[in-house]
């Protein structure tokens, strides 16, 4: 992860997504606040719900229940207009305040295990989100499954990002 940051000194707050292996997907981003603060924004439902669903993406977060501690559960319900609602749920396998959160994605049988780590970088935070799928096929399927609805999502996100200003 170190090389990521040092490789990219000009735009340190860029979001990167890489398929690290057949079963793993890794997202990284730097934040201008210590891990203690960034962690809270992930662990407290009132804060989390304000950023997890980007405004203008045509999706709203209908409900957000999170019991962010080891063994706790979460359930997120999204409303997608006429498409109805979609629920995501799972449990927290490990929660270390200020350091890491590990959760399962149980809405699918072959769901990934997501690990988010918060590392101190000169008073800021290097955030790494790691998704580990049970098999190559599961990740391929996740990609293929959502690929169908992608163009529309991409357009919405493009529209969103152009209003926000890149």
């Amino acid at each position: 992860m170190d090389q990521q940051a040092s490789n990219n000194p000009v735009a340190p707050n860029r979001t990167t997504v890489e398929r690290k292996s057949d079963r793993e997907l890794v997202v990284t981003r730097l934040f201008d606040a210590p891990p203690r603060i960034v962690f809270r924004a992930w662990a407290e439902a009132e804060l989390f719900r304000r950023w997890w669903v980007p405004e203008g993406a045509g999706i709203t977060l209908v409900s957000c229940e999170m019991d962010v501690r080891t063994g706790g559960k979460y359930r997120l319900e999204f409303g997608a207009g006429e498409a109805g609602t979609m629920a995501f749920h799972g449990k927290y396998l490990e929660v270390v305040p200020g350091k890491r959160i590990v959760w399962t994605n149980d809405e699918e049988e072959q769901g990934a295990v997501t690990t988010v780590t918060f590392e101190d970088r000169d008073g800021g935070t290097l955030l790494t989100l790691h998704e580990l799928y049970p098999s190559k096929e599961a990740l391929d399927e996740a990609m293929a499954g959502s690929a169908a609805g992608l163009p529309a999502q991409l357009d919405q996100l493009d529209a969103l990002l152009s209003t926000v200003g890149e």
Binding site: T15, E18, D32, I37, D140, L150
Partner: protein, 118 residues
């Protein structure tokens, strides 16, 4: 060091050759045997077998032998779909994290201002 994932490298390598791109186009219309592909692209059976092997390793083509004929069809993996998916995933997280930046800024300011009076 930017580490790309091996299957994407394989895909790009597979697509770097005009014959192999032609074969994919052809298979997009209909499945075909290696023999008929060799005919169509005016090459030896051995030459076509090599091309198909490269495409197969990249997951772009699947082959199946029935009797003495090996038939080729397009694989499940579509390179364009994967690249597009990763980019969409990145944009989604980027939008999330831009929103998160604002919330974090608020939280930092609240901390600096001291605890809110309750």
């Amino acid at each position: 060091m930017v580490q790309s994932y091996p299957s994407l490298d394989l895909s790009f390598a597979a697509l770097s050759d005009a014959t192999r791109r032609g074969v994919l186009e052809q298979l997009g219309r209909a499945d075909a045997s290696i023999t008929s592909l060799a005919d169509k692209f005016h090459m030896t059976l051995t030459g076509m077998k090599k091309h198909i092997a490269v495409l197969e390793r990249a997951g772009l083509v699947v082959t199946k032998k029935v009797g003495r004929v090996r038939t080729c069809r397009l694989g499940q993996r579509s390179l364009a779909a994967e690249v597009q998916w990763i980019e969409a995933h990145r944009k989604l997280f980027e939008a999330r994290f831009d929103a998160l930046d604002k919330i974090i800024l608020e939280m930092k300011q609240e901390e600096e201002d001291g605890p809110a009076s309750e």
